[in-house]
């Protein structure tokens, strides 16, 4: 139970990471967001039987994790949380398709890459700045607001769960989880508490003039460095998408050894 509370509390980790001060964190949010979008499009556009061609795409999150000095273990933990769902989706492929194991592997690699890229984006940029970048790219305010509030309220919800779980665990020391009998009132209580809390936070926002739009957070200008980052990575992604780099390198080595 205490572990669950710990895990829930760690949801703030991405916010903490986003406040670091490295060269990657300093890049303009729009540039990082667009690079990630190109990356996602390139990865998901691969054929369902493709696995080898996806390998060069490991570089992008890897390089960014190293440059941004992000801790690998917490990011991996989060990735594994999502991968469980992906296994659930892909596990039946081998039963219905003769090449099912390949499509399953492809799904796993694609999801691993895309989720990691998104985690890297959030932990090097912060959701507030991503939202601002989305607004710069003319995404309707209502969607951006939904995204921001969901993110904020998720942490409120999880903190509430953590608090209740701790109170429960202290009075049921020999239990590992919440007893099914208590589950109903636990969930009901959680809903009411979170609703109340959300209401209070909303009032605090309204009282400070909030009218449905988050405003600029000291937006910096796009520099040559940001454009270079976006262009260089985009060219790499498109090149890796069009030509199968691992196979190409393999052929090249074969030719060289023959020669």
């Amino acid at each position: 139970m205490a572990k669950m509370a710990d895990l829930m509390f760690n949801i703030r980790l991405l916010d903490d990471l986003a406040r670091k001060n490295t060269s990657v964190h300093g890049l303009h949010p729009v540039s990082k967001l667009l690079a990630t979008i190109v990356y996602l499009l390139a990865v998901v556009s691969f054929d369902r039987y493709e696995t080898i061609g996806l390998l060069p795409f490991v570089f992008y999150p890897l390089v960014l994790i190293l440059l941004a000095e992000l801790p690998v273990v917490p990011l991996l933990k989060r990735l594994l949380m999502v991968e469980q769902l992906i296994i659930g989706i892909g596990i039946l492929n081998p039963l219905f398709d003769p090449k099912g194991w390949i499509t399953f592997a492809s799904i796993m690699i694609k999801s691993g890459l895309t989720v990691t890229a998104c985690l890297v984006l959030v932990s090097t940029t912060g959701l507030d700045k991503i939202a601002q970048a989305l607004r710069t790219l003319k995404v309707p305010g209502i969607f951006v607001l939904q995204l921001l509030l969901t993110f904020r309220y998720i942490s409120l919800l999880t903190e509430e769960i953590a608090r209740m779980a701790r109170a429960y665990a202290l009075r049921a020391p020999r239990r590992k989880g919440v007893r099914l009998k208590d589950g109903g009132s636990f969930v009901g209580q959680l809903l009411l508490r979170t609703y109340d809390r959300a209401q209070r936070v909303y009032h605090a926002m309204k009282l400070r003039g909030f009218s449905g739009e988050f405003h600029a957070y000291g937006q910096s200008k796009i520099t040559r460095k940001d454009i270079l980052f976006l262009l260089a990575w985009s060219v790499f992604f498109i090149a890796a998408r069009i030509c199968n780099i691992p196979v190409f390198l393999g052929l090249l080595l074969e030719e060289m050894s023959k020669g």
Binding site: R12, D15, D16, A18, R19, G126, D128, R152, R197, R200, V201, H203, A204, M205, K206, L207, R208, G209, F210, S211, H215, A216, Y217, G218, Q219
Partner: protein
């Protein structure tokens, strides 16, 4: 122009479950005045503050801020003049850094970023936490959170500062700092609290609520020394006015 900053007249409010929280409450607060609103748990203090800031709208009666009545249409302009500091600072601090939280109000007023920065720095200086501007609010101590919550309201330059239980959960030193800070502030202040010693030090006038009604409204020394009245309203004479527990001599 009205000489009253806030005027509450014949205010009534019931919650949807039928509980009558505020019953025919009337009072006025003049500019620059410091008023304490006290009462037992459930006497209607927080509801009254919600009605004054337009979080709730009354069933009958009205609240006027300056010359403007609090209605749905006037909420935006009224809220610019009133700054409410919540009882739980965690409800008020929802951004990722103290700076962004304090800047939230000014940014909603579409001020340019230089002005926002100046306002934030001024507000943080006023509450004495300029060094915490890049910290995450949820990682700070209770006293620091309270200071940040007050700064987040001060940055909007309100005419009236309204505080709900400002000293709850503070250690003695943080409480003392807050009291000194409140004494130095020139705003019109409305403070609800059970900490009657703090009210004694910071407020000129006290309004006592009992079951949603005004039980007393008068100068602080008069009201807070009236043991019988306070006892009837579920309160007691401030500790600083009670007998010394060691030597038994009345202070």
């Amino acid at each position: 122009m009205s000489r009253h900053e806030i005027e509450v007249s014949s205010l009534c409010f019931s919650y949807p479950d039928g509980h009558e929280a505020i019953r025919d409450v009337s009072f006025a607060i003049t500019r620059g005045e410091s008023v304490g609103i006290i009462g037992a748990n459930g006497s209607g203090k927080t509801t009254l503050l919600s009605l004054m800031t337009g979080i709730l709208l009354p069933d009958r009666g009205e609240v006027r801020v300056g010359d403007v009545a609090v209605t749905k249409k006037t909420l935006a302009s009224i809220r610019r003049r009133l700054g409410l500091v919540f009882q739980d600072p965690d409800d008020q601090l929802f951004m990722t850094t103290v700076y962004d939280d304090v800047a939230f109000g000014p940014r909603n007023e579409h001020l340019d970023e230089h002005e926002v920065r100046a306002r934030v720095e001024e507000a943080l200086d006023m509450v004495g936490i300029p060094q915490l501007k890049d910290r995450a609010p949820y990682k700070m101590s209770g006293g620091e959170k309270r200071a940040a919550a007050i700064a987040s309201v001060l940055s909007m330059k309100p005419d009236v500062l309204i505080m709900d239980e400002p000293t709850s959960g503070l250690d003695p030193k943080a409480r003392r700092r807050l009291i000194n800070f409140l004494k130095g502030l020139r705003h019109t202040k409305i403070i609800t609290s059970h900490d009657l010693d703090m009210i004694m030090e910071t407020c000129d006038r006290v309004i006592v609520l009992k079951d949603g009604e005004v039980a007393a409204n008068g100068a602080t020394p008069e009201v807070l020394t009236n043991g019988e009245l306070l006892d009837q309203c579920g309160l007691e004479v401030p500790l600083s006015l009670q007998k010394c527990p060691v030597c038994g001599i009345k202070k």
